[in-house]
């Protein structure tokens, strides 16, 4: 059925005025569903996260939330995010020059929390470190992928194309932060997507949503109103393995030198 003159003019006028995505958004607004309008612009965002170690209480809410949101296998070897407990023993007063190596544990990735294991006040230093994909700007995993199945998106996340990945595991070995695993069902690689399906809809990530103390906070570095800029300016910030120049966008506050 050919369109009437009126329909033709309305359609062409709409597409001339509002091209591309804007026209699609307009369709959804006309249909009475403005919230589904795809007005997310890739070039307007640059995602990262602030992780405040001094606020992490090791409750494991982020690990549980992440596994629920992203359907991560419940077995204790698959994690998109996990929490580590560091125990730095006291300095040996007879031999203060010897480095005291930290003890690190992460029972079930912190999914069930941490049972008390060390004694407060014995001279040791104890703290929790939440870990996840660092969404590097110059990511080693992207560089080694032979087929272009993992990539840095224009808005600053490192994502996986599960339809294109062939499960060769190069990226699993290349990631300096150990953030990737091969999914036992799909047999392709899986990792933190920074809840891409949430942040592109204006929500925060599942782990940030669940964190009770605000130890994790999603940050949009291209948004001038994001409090991240104030936080980065007024706090001491470090990324994991800065010597590898990965361009990590997980900004840790209170990061101890013993953390690897």
């Amino acid at each position: 059925m050919s369109p009437t003159r009126r329909e033709f003019l309305a359609q062409s006028g709409k597409f001339l005025l509002l091209t591309g995505a804007a026209a699609l958004a307009f369709d959804q607004i006309l249909a009475g569903k403005p919230e589904e309008a795809s007005n997310y612009k890739l070039t307007n965002h640059w995602w990262g996260m602030i992780i405040d170690i001094e606020k992490c209480i090791g409750c494991g809410a982020c690990v549980r939330a992440d596994k629920a949101e992203n359907d991560v296998p419940r077995q204790p070897y698959y994690f998109r995010t996990w929490v580590e407990r560091y125990h730095v023993p006291p300095v040996d007063l007879q031999h203060p020059e010897t480095e005291s190596l930290p003890e690190v544990d992460s029972p079930n990735g912190g999914y069930d929390g941490f049972t008390e294991k060390y004694r407060r006040g014995d001279g040791s230093k104890n703290f929790f470190v939440p870990k996840l994909c660092n969404h590097c700007a110059h990511s080693p995993c992207v560089q080694v992928c032979p087929v272009g199945a993992t990539f840095e998106s224009p808005d600053g996340t490192v994502l996986v194309d599960t339809k294109y990945c062939m499960g060769c595991r190069y990226c699993v070995q290349a990631c300096p932060y150990g953030c990737r695993y091969i999914h036992p069902v799909t047999h392709v690689v899986d990792k933190c997507s920074l809840c891409y399906h949430r942040i592109t809809k204006g929500l925060t990530t599942a782990c940030c949503e669940a964190c009770p103390t605000g130890a994790r906070r999603l940050a949009d570095l291209k948004n001038p109103d994001d409090p991240v800029h104030e936080f980065l300016r007024t706090h001491t910030i470090q990324v994991l393995k800065p010597q590898m120049a990965t361009g990590s966008k997980m900004f840790y506050h209170g990061l101890d030198g013993s953390v690897r």
Binding site: C56, G58, G113, K125, G148, F151, R198, L203
Partner: protein, 183 residues
């Protein structure tokens, strides 16, 4: 012209083969390279939409506040005010979309609290920590504390009090060296 190409028929054949080979390459490329590859970089542009297509599981704290104003009011001024609803009540996108589809479970009123508030050497000092052995009575924490506003109206504990004793269950946690450095 004719003179020039008299003995060069083989060159024309090679050229024709090269052109044919190039056409085969173009056809193969068109078939093998997925749609949208290279639009933003060395990846398939559709993968961005694939990643966006995952369904939500957590509704977000705004969705909770939109309907449950009474809870927002109850939590006002409490240290628990900034905690997301789904931190304790679990993921509730289904409940937010259709309240009758899923009724949130009431979380365990002892284990849930202790997940954050059990004494632990690695836990920073700002969070109140108790040893359940000698704090309060066995049974749900909510027997004394309101979950949405757990602070109890009591005189401020004396300085240097030990946390979690029967005499002073709400004493300030002992100061740690890390805490002193921070201040």
């Amino acid at each position: 012209m004719r003179e020039l190409f008299k003995d060069k028929e083989h060159l024309v054949r090679v050229a024709a083969l090269a052109v044919a080979g190039f056409l085969v390459f173009l056809l193969a490329k068109a078939r093998l390279v997925p749609a949208g590859f290279g639009a933003y970089g060395h990846f398939r542009a559709g993968a961005l939409d694939d990643n966006r297509a995952r369904p939500l599981v957590f509704a977000g704290r705004q969705a909770g506040a939109d309907c449950h104003e009474d809870i927002v009011k109850a939590r006002h001024g409490s240290k628990h005010a900034a905690i997301g609803c789904e931190t304790c009540h679990g993921p509730l996108e289904k409940h937010a979309a259709d309240p009758s589809a899923l009724t949130p479970e009431r979380p365990d009123q002892r284990d849930l609290c202790l997940g954050c508030h059990h004494e632990n050497a690695a836990r920073p000092a700002f969070i109140r920590q108790v040893n359940p052995q000698d704090h309060g009575e066995p049974g749900p924490c909510t027997a004394c504390h309101k979950a949405h506003h757990p602070e109890m109206e009591e005189p401020a504990p004396a300085a240097g009090a030990v946390v979690g004793t029967a005499a002073d269950p709400h004493g300030a946690p002992p100061a740690q060296p890390a805490q002193e450095v921070k201040q």
